[in-house]
């Protein structure tokens, strides 16, 4: 069993419906979800002594915590705006938990607010202002307009190695959409079929529009406290039982060697291995999972990397409904990136919010009965790094 001493626990959650908020400031969205998370935790903002957030690409870079400290009238003893690609939202939880476990702080707020998705960022990239993100020489001439092409190369290689088909990928998109219908915070609720996915506009083969996550606005916040405080404060604390973190020596598409796989990812595997080890559980012990798959193809790849299935088994698992609610390992019960929507920096916090709801037993129509152990996975680049967190009711 994992050591029970000094664990961190989540006692408050808040999230807005994923969508478009053109009339709102990011700080407004942040304050709204922070207020909801504090209310849910039944604590006052004055009790917050840690503040951790994700990058703001709209212009307040580096000064978000300053703004929020004044807006909330709080004086944290630990704070950071964490910028590490899309994994940042998960890292806010990790660093908050570290500080709590070290005894430096008692109650942390982790939040992410995204407005206008990453549109401005991709626009910059298309104008050559973001080239350093992607290997400048080997990939740069064709790398504009996002990184769908990179995921497409990964998906194609996975198909080649495992025999998976575009229809298999579509099954994951359909599953996510079905789940999203039961999540009021999801952006897309209209049911879709495999045929709809296969007929949707091709972006970068084999990836089509309905295989893809929509970059949207959103905000989510989580209150993290010590285990001792959680027992006093909360009727339903959710404990961080273990986490794993890994970065592979690669940047989006690994280009500086010919041996790094793009059909499966070492960073996910290492992060999962460490997380299971720390939590003292096995993959099969997880009752509900949220994985960070920007495209339906990676809904097949990531569960194999985490260890629920052998390489190439996920297509069959999808056909058999093993990842649906009520199945062997329900994945992305809130709709995942493709149907809940993908306010990129906030996405890992949305995933966490859903896991907390599932473990509290308050997830409504998408509830996995009796869920006791939940897993949250997020990543940065193209699975170049990975963070896996395991949460439990006890």
């Amino acid at each position: 069993m994992p050591p029970k001493r000094k664990r961190a626990a989540i006692i408050g959650i808040g999230a807005v419906k994923v969508g478009r908020y053109p009339e709102r400031q990011e700080s407004e969205l942040a304050l709204q979800v922070i207020r909801d998370a504090l209310k849910d935790a039944q604590i006052s903002s004055r009790q917050i002594d840690g503040l951790f957030t994700t990058p703001d690409l709209q212009g307040n870079i580096g000064l978000q915590t300053n703004l929020l400290c004044e807006y909330l009238r709080i004086s944290p003893r630990s704070m950071a705006e964490i910028c590490c690609g899309a994994i940042a939202g998960g890292l806010t939880l990790k660093y908050a938990a570290d500080e709590i476990q070290a005894g430096r702080i008692k109650a942390a707020l982790c939040y992410g607010a995204v407005r206008e998705g990453s549109i401005g960022w991709f626009k910059n990239l298309s104008q050559g202002k973001g080239w350093s993100m992607i290997e400048p020489t080997a990939l740069q001439p064709y790398a504009a307009y996002g990184i769908i092409w990179a995921y497409a190369l990964s998906a194609r290689r996975y198909m080649h190695e495992t025999g998976a088909t575009e229809a298999d990928f579509a099954l994951a998109a359909v599953r996510n959409r079905k789940n999203a219908a039961g999540n009021p915070a999801a952006a897309f609720a209209k049911p879709i079929t495999v045929e709809d996915v296969l007929r949707s506009r091709c972006l970068s083969s084999p990836i089509k529009l309905l295989d893809s996550a929509a970059s949207l606005d959103g905000a989510a916040a989580v209150v993290v406290v010590s285990e001792e405080a959680a027992r006093d404060l909360s009727p339903h604390p959710v404990y961080l039982q273990g986490w794993g973190l890994h970065h592979d020596p690669s940047c989006v598409i690994p280009t500086d060697n010919c041996s790094t796989s793009i059909s499966h990812f070492k960073a996910t595997r290492e992060a999962a291995r460490e997380a299971f080890q720390k939590a003292g559980i096995r993959p099969g012990d997880v009752d509900v999972a949220e994985i960070y798959a920007p495209f339906s193809s990676h809904e097949l790849i990531i569960p194999e990397d985490i260890g629920w299935f052998q390489n190439g088994e996920m297509a069959q698992a999808l056909r058999k409904g093993e990842t649906e609610i009520g199945g062997r390992i329900p994945i992305n019960t809130d709709g995942g990136l493709t149907s809940r929507g993908h306010p990129w920096a906030a996405t890992p916090l949305y995933e966490t919010v859903n896991i907390v709801r599932q473990l509290r037993g308050t997830a409504g129509p998408i509830q996995v009965r009796g869920a006791k152990v939940g897993l949250m996975h997020c990543e940065g680049g193209m699975m170049n790094n990975g963070l896996v967190m395991i949460f439990g009711r006890d």
């Binding site: 400048p136 064709y142 091709c202 970068s204 598409i253 793009i262």
Partner: protein, 140 residues
């Protein structure tokens, strides 16, 4: 193969380590740096050797041969490109790295993962020269 490559001015001309690479392309050469300190031949070109972090580099011409590792048909890209086009991810024959390049085929049926390809250098013109890839002739 009479494919007309697209041209796009590289945005990282000032990038240390890449200048010689782009200049090499203009001269019709596909170059990779070798570290003068530890001898590592590496790709993509960078300012510092990824093995020993040495920054004294010499430049060697690569064979331009490679193997198709994966591919996609891209339906949107920067306005300078005609879409759709095929993009290949190519393992360089030297085994030192991979390169993403437009691949000059007209249909997906012409592409097979593992097939031999060659990096070709488009003619210098108004824009900076770029590379593309084409299927290798049998036996070449």
């Amino acid at each position: 193969m009479t494919s007309k490559p697209n041209f796009l001015k590289p945005t990282n001309l000032e990038s240390p380590g890449a200048i010689q690479f782009w200049e090499g392309l203009q001269e019709g050469k596909f170059l990779a740096p070798r570290c003068k300190h530890c001898g590592e031949l590496f790709f993509p070109p960078r300012s510092h050797c990824p093995e020993c972090l040495g920054d004294s580099l010499s430049w060697e011409e690569l064979s331009g041969k490679g193997f198709l590792y994966s591919w996609t048909e891209l339906f949107f890209a920067q306005p300078e490109f005609d879409t759709p086009f095929f993009l290949g991810l190519i393992d360089l024959a030297e085994g030192i790295g991979r390169i993403a390049a437009r691949i000059s085929v007209k249909t997906a049926e012409e592409l097979h993962i593992g097939m031999p390809v060659r990096i070709r250098i488009s003619k210098p013109g108004e824009w900076m020269a770029l590379y593309y890839a084409e299927p290798s002739d049998p036996g070449s």
